[in-house]
Symmetry: C2
């Protein structure tokens, strides 16, 4: 007897959730494309050697790896940056430079499951490869900002820093200073002392000013929501210049977007430095923040009305009405069981959140009329068939 | 030294291809939703026991299976029907009945690689679960037909049959008769004789007429492109009533869509019969047919113009022009290297298929004008800045 269950750490998305996901994906794509970013798709599986050793020890451990039937060692996509680096090397004579691509695909990591941590999750990346101009740094921030706006967020901050501000600071001290917002100045000083690190490193960092690079980017951006924070660290091994995060006011689970410049990574397979700057949205966080702030539009339900089937002999009439509305580009569901009670049919419409029901009983059929029921107010009225379309619009 | 390559049997989709894929996916989604079908997403990985034994010996062999870090036996999604059956059983108290869902996700099969056969490919399914009414049979054909029309196909056939027409015919004879179009009547008779099967089974099948069920479905559909073909077989183990395929005139690689009624499958985990009817598009075939018949619109390139940067000191001007156009919802790319020659910038626009370039040199900057170059005709003209927007529209 098979146990009917979703694999541990994985998720099903039933229609209500799936529609929200599509709404966010479509919004991101539209914004990305409005700045000339183009879609890229890479396979779920890669040769293991392409991915292995690129994400540190921790990454190798969390990677889904196995041997395929042809005894090839393969691994499931762990992120979209290493595959991008492979594509950049493999197709270097075909790709326009700068190569501006976005990529929205699931990745797989054998994380310890806990609240908000899943083993399959969507990554939404946009990057510019092959340009070291501060114009590119400004552009990735601009496109991320526009996306956040388009999703409906009103109040948010764009926090920026330059990796250069950490020059000479020990990596472990940086990790501790990065916690400043969480544990406060006292906490940071205490931890630095405990680890035998110079407590003055905190002051050194706090005293830093925007670099020339940041000044240039900020000038190009010309956005008052940009805030310099010398303690913003992110993954320092990776970044070589600008780093930034977007924080939504009132959403406390963390930043919804993060990125920066990483000029030493994308060339890993091409065997030369290739400048790159980009960002990733935290898709699950975006959805959570939108839910909390009630930013999803009401009309994710695209069906306008359920055309019910009063009884078997009248189904042709219902079909005719449904077809006519559909041919006028109104999204219509026809109830698909001519033996169900009207009550059951209306319940179905309620369950799916369909706003109107159209009823054609014997009286209506005789008079070429229809009854329209508003399923929110429960009001109903009988109108001539030819006015139904305008009634629903 | 890592070999830079895509895994055997897998594909990268660079922007040009990826845009075509998105265009088809978006068109399918729009049509599916216009009939009240809703999206469903299931995970890439399932417990092996959920999938194993559901696709015959051949299927088990081609399945990507492995042990995860928690020693769970897992398998990659092989199709979307068995996961749908799991979802129907697992969430039976939450789902509306009938449950009309579509699902567009990749599946993985360790096929022998050959022309048009890949180990990762997109499946596009739409199904109605929980209704045995012929209205549902007609609706799945109607929605598939509408999708084919929306993609731009003008001439195609919808071939239908009823599984009942094969009652009493030996499975092996059915497989041979199914080849009628390929090998002709002579070929079928010869193969039947070779296998020691009664050659009269061909005549038996050819003499069949539409069943009452098919008559009812055809009446509801009322579409002259529907053609009855008693030799259409498809996967008979699976189907229990209607079967259908859509064939595009002039595209010879095979049908682009196939489906039917399968009332004994979806209940496999719920331990009762649950009626279902649906179809799948062959995504790769759809794309190939659209390419051959030149059905992709020219404007998959969404960027209207590249705003070039004449030289470093004038970049603010270019930025200003780009920002203004963008704020008026025109998709604009700004060239991201202020040190590149104009020639290089125009070449970039050509490479990406961007139709216009906007040039702001010292003269233009002084006179508040811009030069617009049509990159197809290579014509250019200098116009006042305030008329640029209407020029591009």
């Amino acid at each position: 007897m098979v146990k009917v269950q979703t694999l541990k750490g994985f998720r099903d998305f039933l229609p209500k959730e799936a529609k929200k996901r599509q709404y966010v994906i479509n919004t991101l794509k539209t914004v990305f494309e409005s700045y000339g970013f183009e879609p890229l798709e890479t396979p779920a599986l890669e040769y293991e050697e392409v991915l292995l050793g690129k994400y540190g020890e921790e990454g190798d451990k969390m990677m889904y790896r196995f041997e395929d039937l042809g005894k090839r060692k393969v691994a499931l996509r762990y992120d979209q940056t290493v595959p991008l680096a492979r594509v950049v090397a493999q197709y270097q004579n075909e790709l326009p430079i700068p190569f501006k691509r976005y990529q929205i695909q699931p990745v797989w990591r054998a994380e310890n499951t806990q609240k908000g941590r899943f083993r399959e999750f969507l990554q939404c990346d946009a990057d510019i490869v092959g340009s070291s101009s501060p114009l590119s740094d400004a552009e990735v921030i601009a496109v991320a900002t526009k996306a956040v706006e388009k999703l409906g967020f009103k109040n948010f901050k764009i926090i920026i820093n330059d990796r250069a501000n950490f020059a000479g600071v020990e990596p472990l001290a940086i990790v501790i200073i990065d916690k400043l917002k969480k544990i406060g100045k006292e906490g940071v000083l205490k931890e630095l002392a405990e680890k035998g690190l110079p407590t003055k490193s905190l002051d050194q960092i706090l005293e830093k000013w925007p670099t020339e690079n940041l000044k240039e980017i900020t000038k190009v951006l010309n956005d008052s929501r940009v805030i310099f924070d010398s303690t913003l660290a992110r993954g320092l091994d990776y970044y070589t210049g600008l780093i930034f995060e977007i924080e939504i006011d009132g959403y406390t689970a963390g930043s919804v977007c993060g990125g920066g410049r990483y000029d030493k990574l994308i060339g890993m397979f091409a065997n030369r430095d290739i400048p790159a700057v980009g960002f990733a949205f935290g898709f699950d966080r975006l959805l959570e923040a939108m839910d909390e702030l009630k930013l999803f539009p009401d009309d994710l339900q695209t069906t306008k009305a359920l055309v019910t089937v009063f009884f078997k002999e009248l189904k042709e009439k219902s079909l005719e009405v449904a077809s006519k509305l559909r041919s006028n580009n109104i999204n219509i569901e026809l109830y698909l069981d001519e033996n169900s009670s009207l009550e059951k049919q209306l319940k179905y419409a309620d369950q799916k959140g369909i706003p109107y029901a159209v009823i054609i009983g014997p009286e209506e059929a005789k008079n070429n009329s229809v009854t329209v029921k508003n399923l929110k107010t429960r009001e109903q009225k009988t109108i001539p068939q030819e006015t139904l379309q305008s009634e629903l619009q």
